[in-house]
Structures are given as C-alpha cells and as structure tokens.
Subunit: 333 residues, 2 copies
C-alpha cells in the first residue's frame, strides 16, 4: 500500500476494477475490517483504565477519552481540541478508532506507533499538561494500580513504557468491523442500496480510492493536501514537512481513514469542511481536479455512510481511588 | 428523617442503640442501599446518552459525566469543578452516586429533585454554558435522538422536561449496593474486621451518626457547617441561607452521603479537607466539640472505607451523529 503514492499510477487499475462484473473481496481496493483479537485481556483492561484516567493530566480533568471520545466516533468532533486551561489545540483531533491500521500516528505521522503516540499528549503543555515524572508519581501512589501493573508486567516499577504499551494494547482493540459496506464486501449484495453502490463506483472511478483504500479506507499513506490546486487555510500546520524536513512534504498529511467518517464532522486537519458534502466537493476539486455534481456528491456521501461499523462496546472502567500520597491535581495554577 | 435537625435530640437514642447487644438492620441507624429497580429501561438508556452528551454544552466538550465522572465515584474529585472556558466553579462537585437518596440536590438543596437539578448546569454560564433553546435545537437536529424521544415519551417534541426526566431516570439507577458494611448489616459478621467495627462504634457513640444516617449515611438533612465552633474557609458559599433567606441557615449545607466516600477526596463543600483523616478530625472538632485521637480517627476511617459499594456497571453509550443541521459547538468564542 505504501507504493500507492501517486494518483496517476493507480488510476488505470481502479478503472479496470470498477469495470469488472462481479466484485469479490479480492478484486476490491477496500477490504473488510477484521475483528479485534485480544491477546492479553489484563493488559487491555489496564490500558482502558489509563485511557479514561483524568489523573494523567495536570488538571485531573482531561483523559485520552476527552479528545478521543469513544461515545462520539473516537474523537471530540471539534474544530480543534481543548487542552489544559482551555487552550486551543493546533489541529482537529483524529479518531482513535481503527488507528492501529494507520501507517503512523498524528496527522503528520510523527509517531511511528500507537505506543509512541500515547506518551505525547500526557506531557504536551497544550494538551494534558502533565509530565512523565508526575504522571508516574500519581500511578505509583495508588496501590491498586501498582498491583495491576505488577499483574500485567511482572514488576512494580510502573514505567512510562508500560503505561503507553497498555494504552496502545487497549487502542488496538478499538476497531469497527461489520459496517454495511463490509457486509457487502463479504458477499451480502442486499447490504447496499442502489445509490450507495453508485456512490462507491464513483468513489472508485473518480480516483478517491487511490488514497482512500485498504481496510481503513485511508490511513496508509501521506498525501499532499491540495494536489491539483492549493488548499486555502488559516491553519499554520505544514504536515509531514515538519517530520522529514523536506520541502516536498509541505502540506502532506496522513490520509485519514474514512471508516465511521459520518460520525465525525467537521473534516480535514483544520476542520475546514463542516459537512461530508463539503468535504467530498473540496477533495474532488483539490485532489482530483474534478467538480463533482450534486448527484455525485450525494451518491458518494451515501456510500461513506455505509462505512460506519460496529462501535467498540466499552464497559466504563472504575478507576482506583487516590491514596493520601497521590499528588493532587492542580487545575487552576 | 427531616426531624433529625439537632444533634442533642437524637444523642440518647443512638447511645442506646450502640449499647444494644446483637445489632440487626432494624436497630441500626444506617440501612443497606437497595439495588436499583429499572422501571423504564428505554428512558434510562436515553438518560444515559444525555448524561454523556457533550453537545449539551456550548463547547461540545463538557457533559454531565465531566464533573460527575462515573469512573471516579460520580465526581471529578477536584477542589472545585472546571466549567466552560476553564472557569473555576464555586464549590466541590457532589457525587451523583446515590443522589436519588438525597433530601434535595446541590449543596444548598436549591433543587428539590434530580430532574430539577439536571436542567441547571446545562444553562449555567460557569458550567456547560449552553441554554435550553440551544440544547434542544441540538437534540432536535439529530434524527436518532428525535426517534428515541418519540419511543420513550410518545411524541417528537423533545422538551427540556423530557431531557431532565430521562437524565433523572438514569441517575436514579446510580446506586451502590453491597458494600462490605451492607453485607455486615445484612448479617455477615465476617464482613468487617475488628478495627472497622470499632470505627463504626465510635462513629455512633461520638455522634457522627446523628447527621450521617439512613441508607445513604447522610444526604437526608441540612446542618450547619461549624456547629460547635465556626468553620474557617475562604469559600464564600453560605449554603442553605441563599435558598431560605433565613439568617439561621447561614453555613447550613446538605449533609453529604458518606457512601463511597473513600473514592472521592478532597472533602467538604470547599474541599478544605484533603484526606479522610483530616475530614474526620475537623468534623469531630467543629460539629461535636471533640478531639478524636489518632486511633479513633484511624478506626473511623477504616469504617468509612467499608461504605464503598458496587459501582454501577455502565456500558458507554454510543451517541448519534450530528446532522448537517446540528448547531456546531463554539468552544473558543
């Protein structure tokens, strides 16, 4: 999938696929999402606690779930996130759902793995505003956490590596299989109606699928935002260039997964598109040099709605109580 | 229970109870918490969604669960809560757990019912900072919500009365039965150890139980904070006087339930006691004119830990997606 870097290369292949008679999973550029395989339930359970743990923030108010809300598609669905002291974040928070399928984490891919990603926001002064020493002091002061880390990792150290490993293990379970589109891919031809199917055909023939492909319908490559004509935005983010240092990577962002995309307007890294319709129209113009008409937009949006899968069933964790030694949150200083 | 207004009246009764030989539920001033009876599951489910619904706030970031976090004892456990734009709240947020057992809601009892309480924070500019018109516009713009209100209430109006009724129905299920103390009350004499039992005896004989009694171990009366000697605090809250207008009610607050109290330091309306030990010592001095010694404090604290019950098992609700017509959150203006 890493090789699908330029639109032109893949166009003829998708056109050929679109023209084929009876689609099968093998011949489609999008594959079904696989169900989560939970290898270490104790680690996943610990990771879930940490994902919902507001005491990992300086304020005691912000947890991973604050901006990656599992009730609302794994994101806060704000134009930019709210950090410590209500600071405005630099970018729209990406969804944590199916994030294990991403080639890298963050919009600019600066974290290679979910584990690497997880340590960032805790210590980011504009996000959770704690630091790794304080976060570990908090966890180590709570006997039930120390016991649980011991059970999972075989020692009572409680390290940031363990914290992020457990959070990543939990996040790997946050996949959304069994969307209507996946049912269709697996052979249930009643799963999509005529408009949705037409939308999918347009999605392929127009070239959207050149970037939005694979099980996550995206997430597996970086692409320049504004390929045919430049993207106009007041958001200063420059994307991948900040990681690679290459001018050619300016405005290259990770292609977002379109799984569950109907759950989480607004769209783009700067939230520049308030609706799916606006997002499709802009993508057509800027990435494909194509002005979709109203029917095409409606059809593609109808198709995108079929990518909403089964949301993870999360039993809210009960977090262990602070001890008398637990450093207290300091939200107001 | 409303008649237990003054310590002196009830003292002899509790002393007599404490001196009795074989305690039974009937003779104890504390009764077990009853399990939740769910009469209208569809309404409870809708109420749960609304309890976790950040779009009821202006920012799209704050839900009921933000300050009444069901992962952490039904409260945020901060000295004072964080509202819209990170405003510092006036008071420590009370726990929502077992709040249906309270004589009234809020520290000053200004809401007679959970339903009345629920409408307050949504429109409070220092809390969720929305207003009832906007909150209803949001819900009415989301077809899945309108359908769910229709299913529960038999019409598609979506009124604030319906919203608060559903939230209250959910909150009524948030009880915490089967604490070790309740098991002991029900006859399992192994449920408490010697220190915990000693703590309970001291709790009764010293007079704590004069205010902290009933199934919720409190919550059923208003009492002056600083009965024997005045409570020193920089918090300007004057309690019940603001509701009744009576000078005699100055510094009278609702006696908090001690159920699950070990889960939610800091204590008092102003969070003036950082630990249970500090809270017990201060209460002894200010309310009972008594300086508990270290062993008494340790014993009472051990007893208080036995009041932690089974926390409600909450499957995180999946909230319906905003439509194109849904008013967007405005966190930064």
């Amino acid at each position: 999938m890493q090789s699908l870097k330029y639109l032109g290369m893949m166009f003829p292949l998708w056109l050929a696929l679109a023209a084929s008679a009876a689609p099968s999973i093998q011949s489609e550029p999008i594959q079904p999402i696989a169900k989560a395989v939970i290898r270490n339930p104790a680690m996943v359970e610990l990771g879930k606690k940490l994902f919902f743990e507001p005491r990992l923030s300086k304020s005691g108010f912000i947890s991973c779930n604050s901006c990656h809300n599992l009730s609302t598609g794994g994101s806060d669905n704000l134009s930019s996130s709210i950090g410590d002291h209500w600071q405005q974040g630099p970018i729209r928070s990406p969804s944590v759902l199916n994030s294990s399928l991403n080639v890298a984490q963050f919009w600019d891919g600066r974290a290679k793995s979910l584990q690497e990603q997880a340590s960032g926001p805790i210590a980011n002064p504009r996000e959770m505003a704690s630091n790794h020493v304080l976060a570990l002091d908090v966890l180590r002061s709570i006997p039930a956490y120390v016991n649980e880390f011991d059970k999972v990792f075989g020692n009572r150290n409680v390290s940031m590596q363990q914290v992020t490993k457990a959070i990543a293990a939990f996040e790997e379970t946050l996949v959304t299989p069994d969307s209507r589109f996946d049912l269709w891919l697996k052979g249930n031809k009643q799963a999509l109606n005529a408009q949705e199917l037409r939308g999918y055909q347009t999605f392929k023939t127009a070239g959207c699928v050149a970037c939005h492909n694979g099980p996550a319908v995206g997430g597996n490559s970086f692409q320049k935002m504004g390929l045919v004509s430049p993207y106009q935005t007041s958001n200063p983010a420059q994307g991948r260039a900040g990681v690679t240092g290459k001018d050619a990577d300016r405005m290259a962002f990770k292609v977002p997964s379109l799984r569950n995309v109907a759950l989480r307007a607004p769209y783009f890294h700067d939230a520049g598109a308030p609706t799916l319709e606006a997002a499709v129209a802009t993508m057509g113009k800027l990435q494909l040099g194509r002005a979709f008409n109203q029917q095409e937009i409606g059809d593609i949006v109808a198709f995108l709605h079929t990518l909403t899968g089964k949301q993870p069933r999360i039993v809210l964790p009960i977090l262990p109580a602070s001890s008398n030694d637990t450093p207290r949150p300091t939200p107001f200083n």
